[in-house]
Symmetry: C2
């Protein structure tokens, strides 16, 4: 029973025009599960870290009531590390280093009690690992998948296998164009949905997000931020909130999907306000719903 | 009494990946006034053409009940001509030629009966000509202004004088960034509104439009078009519908401004479906309101 989350967990060194942090909590599954924890207490994390991961980070997960049965802590192992630097416009970043460490031999082993989880969110990891997860959970109700340009380039066939099994795919606009080999996003959506996912979310950063279903398109605004402090993890945070809200509703319909996109946008808009997971560690329903209402106000108009 | 429109009127030669037309009806005031004509029968056009403009084009204006008292037809003169070619992604175009012809010595003379027009829409022309218009109409209720990158570059001081006098400015995102010397559109809006305009619309093409006022931001979606046949005039059409809807309501409030942005987007979405003004020549309230409702459906969500 719950929302199963699989992805990377790491320690990030990030430089932005506003400052620098070293070995701060990061990784796709980290952002996803923290975002999810505001919508359900059945957030089940599967991932791997080394002995150096730090008790403080474990405690953070626990304080958010994230279930860590599926967290492998490798004795003597070192945690996955990533270093990146953002340019002035914050839309582009350079990867400075990637140390896979214990993540190199990561085998996502789903604990017995999580094999009946109804929802799965496959965070951005190697598509073959995403497939391994799906093999262990035979009958989920709803599968959401995130991915990245790297896998489109080097693991396209596995990615197509994943797509054929998932219900919803979340990608950004440049990934959508790369995947569909097409520049018009509306055409992209048609092409990508033919690869499998019934629902597709295309994130457009400062331009908001588009949700595509069988008979509808939903256009969500972006939160009007004057300053993006650190964009790391915003996409993962979006995916976590999107999926966890749907899990909470237990009802995949158009209105819930639209709200899920807004909750994803809300949580991502918080995420970028501080380094690492700092801005999403201490939220509450009041803050989240206040921002949800700001999205509502910003996009609402009526026929006169 | 009415909405005074000043801008260029020309004959366009346009090449897109879908075909080519020669000497087709074009110009900012043309698109603006045709769009306006669906919202008010007090559309008062001021512009200049040559003797070669063509009776068919005059008849089109008349059929749309556009008042042509301010249209100067220069005997023996040649109409302004522009030629452009769009690239495959339709976001960029090359100007192939510009023949100013009678437009070179254009002096916008506002007919006596239009000097009491309550609304003015200054289409995209030389800022000094926009100022000339304002000098002749001493006391309008509401002034909307369009401009382009060329004037930001070569007539910046005059443009600032225009901005200090107008109520609303409509520009696209690249122009906003150029004008504000800033890449974040939210910051851009703050900087540009300090130049004068109380209301600012930033058009973002396939990403919709943003409207900024004193205490609100409105984010409008784009119509999900798979094919943009010819983008020429879309911005002018937006401005025409935006302003004419506000003129029709006689009430500048937040809800009307938001609807005006949607009507602008609706009319622009029609405009790009065919060459020249073809797609906006034969619309009706039913078609316009049907598309307005599609914008509503596309952006509507509710708190659960």
């Amino acid at each position: 029973m719950g929302l199963l989350i699989v992805g990377s967990i790491g320690l990030d060194t990030v430089e932005t025009p506003f400052g620098k942090i070293e070995d701060a909590l990061g990784g796709s599954a980290t952002y996803i599960s923290i975002a999810s924890s505001y919508f359900t207490q059945s957030t089940n994390l599967v991932g791997v870290v080394g002995e150096d991961f730090g008790e403080k980070n474990i405690e953070l997960f626990k304080s958010r009531k994230i279930n860590l049965d599926g967290l492998q802590i490798i004795k003597g192992g070192k945690t996955f590390r990533w270093g990146g630097k953002y340019h002035n416009d914050m839309n582009n970043r350079d990867t400075l280093f990637t140390e896979l460490n214990v993540f190199e031999n990561f085998n996502p082993i789903i604990p017995e009690r999580n094999r009946k989880d109804e929802f799965i969110l496959l965070g951005n990891i190697l598509p073959s690992l995403q497939l391994q997860v799906l093999e262990q959970v035979p009958n989920p109700d709803f599968i959401v998948c995130d991915t990245m340009n790297l896998w489109i380039n080097i693991a396209y066939d596995d990615l197509l296998k994943v797509f054929s099994k998932v219900d919803a795919l979340i990608i950004n606009d440049s990934e959508a164009k790369m995947l569909a080999k097409e520049s018009n996003l509306i055409k992209c959506a048609r092409i990508i949905r033919e690869m499998g996912p019934k629902y597709l979310v295309i994130k457009k950063g400062e331009h908001g997000a588009l949700l595509f279903g069988d008979d509808f398109i939903f256009s969500a605004p972006a939160y009007p931020l004057e300053t993006v402090f650190d964009p790391t993890g915003a996409g993962d945070t979006f995916a976590g909130a999107f999926t966890a809200y749907l899990y909470k509703t237990k009802n995949i319909n158009k209105e819930n999907l639209k709200r899920a996109v807004i909750y994803g946008s809300v949580m991502a808009s918080f995420c970028v306000e501080k380094f690492s997971t700092k801005a999403i560690e201490n939220l509450d329903d009041l803050k989240i719903n206040k921002r949800f209402n700001e999205f509502l106000t910003m996009s609402k108009f009526e026929y006169d």
